[in-house]
């Protein structure tokens, strides 16, 4: 999920669009009514609004939250952690919108064993705290939600799974998320990342299935799942954790898709891997590639 915190000064080109309220509509967009109206809205609020809509729609249509206590606890954990840590580090409570988004993301993506609630507490804390602990040159390296969920999955697969709800496997839900995602990605000018990843996924996994002699469509099917839609539209495009240069952004997206394909290849071969690799290869690929790319990018630019 997008982390749009307003903490350290962002060197990314999206700092104005995603990182602060000082947003200006681009000339190309200013002419269109709805678009220009959207362009005047701080993207953080737009993102928060849309992810809230996704959650509400998913709950009303598919009862997918699994209990409002989960939502409340995830939100509370994220908001409280952000408030306390920002107060501790900067002497003031920062805008909590990104924590709100992380809380909703955790609720959407985390599915625990039984009725246990601690994964939402631990996940919320880890997501937000990772931004303060795992930094390089004042920039955090991992997308907070990606970090939290992947660590939970790696550390406690006996207790955690990811988005076991499929949201009905129907076209309407897919279209809704695609529409929301496209709007946001375009608005935040990261659509090229999404498209680069999707194209790479299609190419690499088609090749993989051909090499292995497997039917192609099942290998491409994950893209239509809601977890992937959240991943490609919200997580992989997090303005705070992507690299700076547009070409590099595309390159990193391709690398993430490649690493994911490699993980899938290993799974196809029944290699012994942690469950997280088999259950959520996309999340693991981003977890592995994203911080390295960000780290190299920050070093390169300094």
């Amino acid at each position: 999920m997008k982390d749009v915190r307003e903490t350290s000064p962002s060197p990314t080109p999206f700092s104005e669009s995603a990182g602060s309220a000082k947003v200006k509509a681009t000339p190309r967009l200013a002419g269109s009514g709805v678009w220009s109206a959207l362009a005047r809205v701080d993207p953080r609020y737009l993102i928060a609004f849309l992810i809230t809509l996704v959650l509400i729609a998913a709950q009303l249509r598919y009862h997918m939250v699994g209990g409002y206590d989960r939502l409340a606890i995830a939100l509370l954990a994220c908001l409280a952690t952000e408030a306390l840590l920002s107060l501790f580090v900067r002497g003031k409570v920062t805008n909590l919108l990104s924590a709100y988004i992380s809380g909703l993301s955790l609720t959407l993506l985390t599915k625990p064993q039984g009725a246990v609630l601690w994964p939402f507490v631990a996940g919320g804390f880890l997501a937000i705290a990772s931004k303060y602990v795992l930094q390089y040159r004042n920039n955090h390296l991992w997308n907070p939600t990606n970090f939290a969920i992947t660590v939970l999955l790696l550390a406690a697969p006996n207790r955690i799974s990811v988005l076991s709800h499929q949201w009905g496997n129907d076209l309407v839900t897919n279209l809704v998320i695609w529409c929301f995602g496209l709007v946001i990605a375009a608005r935040v000018r990261v659509l090229h990342i999404t498209l680069a990843y999707v194209a790479s996924f299609l190419v690499f996994n088609t090749l993989r299935s051909l090499v292995l002699g497997q039917a192609v469509l099942p290998e491409l099917a994950p893209l239509t799942g809601p977890m992937y839609q959240l991943f490609v539209f919200f997580m992989i495009t997090d303005p705070r954790t992507v690299v700076k240069d547009r070409r590099w952004q595309i390159g990193v997206a391709v690398i993430i898709a490649f690493v994911e394909t490699a993980i899938r290849f290993a799974s196809d071969q029944a290699w012994t891997l942690p469950t997280a690799f088999n259950a959520a290869p996309a999340l693991v690929a981003l977890f592995l590639v994203g911080p390295v790319a960000k780290f190299v990018d920050l070093r390169r630019r300094n």
């Binding site: 064993q113 039984g114 999955l153 207790r159 076991s164 076209l171 029944a270």
Partner: protein, 584 residues
């Protein structure tokens, strides 16, 4: 403080949290390790009892070969009845391959069994053109005092009339039940209280699907969560004279939600038997009986959790005098936590069920059959859960493949040909059975290993019966493609018990649907005479109650299916009590 120092301070709880998360992974699943004993043992005495039944899995149309292990992974059923009227419960196992015989194990009364299926005429039920057996359920549909047998199949139903306690006759055609229905479950109930057993049959694949001659491979579910394109469940009204009438549409119980199991009881206490369904790829359903005229689908809090219901077990979990519901589901660590449901019946107060499954009882693996039974006779029900779907190669899991298509658009996975080839993979295989000890407010404890249950077979049907009439709840497990198991129960001998043989007169002769409430020491326990529950199973029809140290039962209330209520005071304990329904 410098920023680096602050970061270091934050890193401490950060790392600590990761460590705690990691530790929780290994701590999952409480086991019984405190000083007190479970107060019972379950001993595998299958061989000593002479039960040698091995289930054989179906082989299907070659066009389904890529997913055959998945589609053909059901059919190991077991049901209990005293078919020959000698006072000893007998066992009927279903088989699922063409030419493989079903088994009727007659209880010799000395702890051993003999398979008499062939001579009784109930062995040869798996034939091309007829289908293969998926399970069975016993009930005296013609009130002649002998238990008849209904076998449901992926194929035609088979109703076998008990002629003389030794031989059976196929009366399906005459009964009007010659219907092709790909069924995994059926229950007997007298929904209109006319004294004749009616039949509710659940359907899985659509009725036009012949799994040996598929016209199209688009036979699968249209959603992993809200599928509605399964076969249509059917309710047959018993007209008397050996005839049945399809009243599904008239009564409104024709769910098409890929039902895997059903159970019936009077959940809302209005005196009419209701129907509870566990549906694969969808939410559970409760059909409340409107005075025997029709059923009303009610939400009761069930619609908020869409899972993969496999079995419905009924029990009075916390001795409140109500029948609660346990529904098994899938948990596959790292991939999917659907979690089993333990739903307390709160229809009277809140018009809904309340799911109180904690992490222990919620995650039993890929759970199938389950039954409540007071295994230690302490006065509270334990829970036996059979687990494991497909045990192929240990190092090859289909879960990864499953995760690829589970999130796909339904048009892909509706076509069986689109599914990745299953081959020799496992899918939640080699999972051990669970035995949950009921500790009341302290939760449930998995004591399987402590009490002697260590099998890792692919369990399907579980039935409970007092096979030796000694006040113990023996557990019979039918395993898919594998040998059946008989676990003899050895409860703490210091605990008391009471059991009842109900002889109905105005109600259906089998007394199916009768609910018995015992009252002692200020406690209540309720049980229903089983017309089929769990998954592909049916328990001993004689309600059994553990009493703990209580040596006296003050009162027993029997709610007969006819609508009458009978009260018995001070019945003797530690024995079976035969209760005859008053004629007026």
């Amino acid at each position: 403080m410098s920023p680096a120092f602050k970061r270091g301070l934050i890193a401490l709880p950060f790392l600590l949290t990761i460590g705690m998360v990691r530790r929780s992974n290994d701590a999952s699943g409480r086991s019984f390790a405190d000083a007190s004993r479970p107060a019972f043992q379950l001993r595998d005495e299958t061989a000593a009892a002479g039960i040698r039944f091995v289930h054989r899995t179906a082989t299907l149309d070659p066009r389904l070969s890529n997913v055959e292990p998945h589609i053909a992974a059901l059919g190991a059923g077991v049901s209990v009845a005293d078919y020959d009227g000698d006072g000893w419960p007998d066992l009927y196992f279903t088989n699922s391959r063409f030419g493989a015989a079903n088994a009727l194990y007659r209880n010799r009364g000395d702890g051993t069994f003999e398979d008499v299926a062939s001579s009784a005429g109930v062995a040869d039920l798996n034939q091309p053109g007829a289908g293969v057996s998926m399970g069975s359920v016993w009930g005296d549909f013609d009130n002649d005092g002998r238990e008849d047998l209904l076998v449901y199949r992926y194929g035609y139903l088979a109703l076998l009339k008990n002629l003389d306690g030794r031989r059976f006759k196929d009366v399906t055609e005459a009964a009007g039940l010659h219907r092709w229905i790909n069924s995994n479950g059926a229950i007997w109930l007298d929904y209109d209280r006319d004294g004749l057993l009616d039949l509710y049959v659940t359907a899985y694949f659509r009725e036009e699907v012949d799994l040996w001659h598929v016209k199209s491979t688009r036979i699968m579910h249209n959603s992993f969560e809200y599928a509605t394109n399964g076969g249509k469940n059917l309710l047959f009204h018993n007209l008397g004279g050996g005839r049945f009438e399809d009243v599904t549409d008239r009564t409104g119980v024709g769910s098409t939600r890929w039902t895997l199991a059903a159970a019936s009881a009077d959940f809302n206490g209005d005196g009419w038997p209701d129907i509870y369904l566990a549906n694969d790829y969808g939410p559970e359903e409760l059909f409340l009986n409107d005075h025997g005229r029709r059923f009303v689908l009610t939400t009761a809090g069930l619609e908020s959790e869409s899972k993969s219901g496999m079995a419905v077990a009924l029990g009075d979990v916390y001795n409140r005098g109500r029948l609660d519901v346990f529904v098994t589901n899938i948990s596959a660590r790292g991939y999917l936590f659907q979690n089993n449901n333990l739903r307390l019946n709160e229809l009277a107060e809140r018009n809904r069920f309340n799911n109180v499954a904690d992490a222990t009882v919620a995650d039993a693996g890929w759970a199938w059959g389950a039954q409540f039974a007071d295994l230690n006779n302490d006065g509270t029900d334990e829970l036996f859960v059979a687990n494991g779907f497909i045990s192929g190669k240990r190092d090859k899991s289909y879960w990864y493949s499953m995760s690829k298509i589970a999130g796909a658009h339904h048009s892909l996975f509706e076509d069986a040909r689109s599914w990745p080839t299953f081959g020799d993979a496992s899918l939640s295989g080699y999972e051990r059975s669970r035995v949950f000890l009921n500790r009341g407010a302290a939760g449930w404890w998995d004591v399987a290993a402590n009490v002697g249950v260590r099998d890792e077979l692919d369990g399907r049907a579980v039935a409970v019966a007092d096979l030796s009439n000694r006040g113990a709840q023996d557990v019979i497990v039918a395993n898919q493609g594998q040998p059946a198991l008989l676990y003899r129960d050895y409860p703490d001998s210091s605990n008391h018990w009471i059991a009842f043989t109900l002889v109905a007169t105005r109600s259906n002769r089998s007394a199916i649907g009768a609910e018995v409430v015992v009252e002692y020491n200020g406690k209540l326990q309720r049980r229903v005479v089983d017309g089929g529950m769990g998954f592909a199973s049916q328990n001993d029809r004689r309600p059994h109650f553990g009493l703990g140290t209580a040596e006296r039962v003050e009162r027993v209330v029997i709610h007969w299916p006819s609508g009458g209520t009978q009260v018995i005071r001070d019945p003797p304990v530690d024995r079976f009590n035969t209760i005859v329904e008053p004629r007026r």
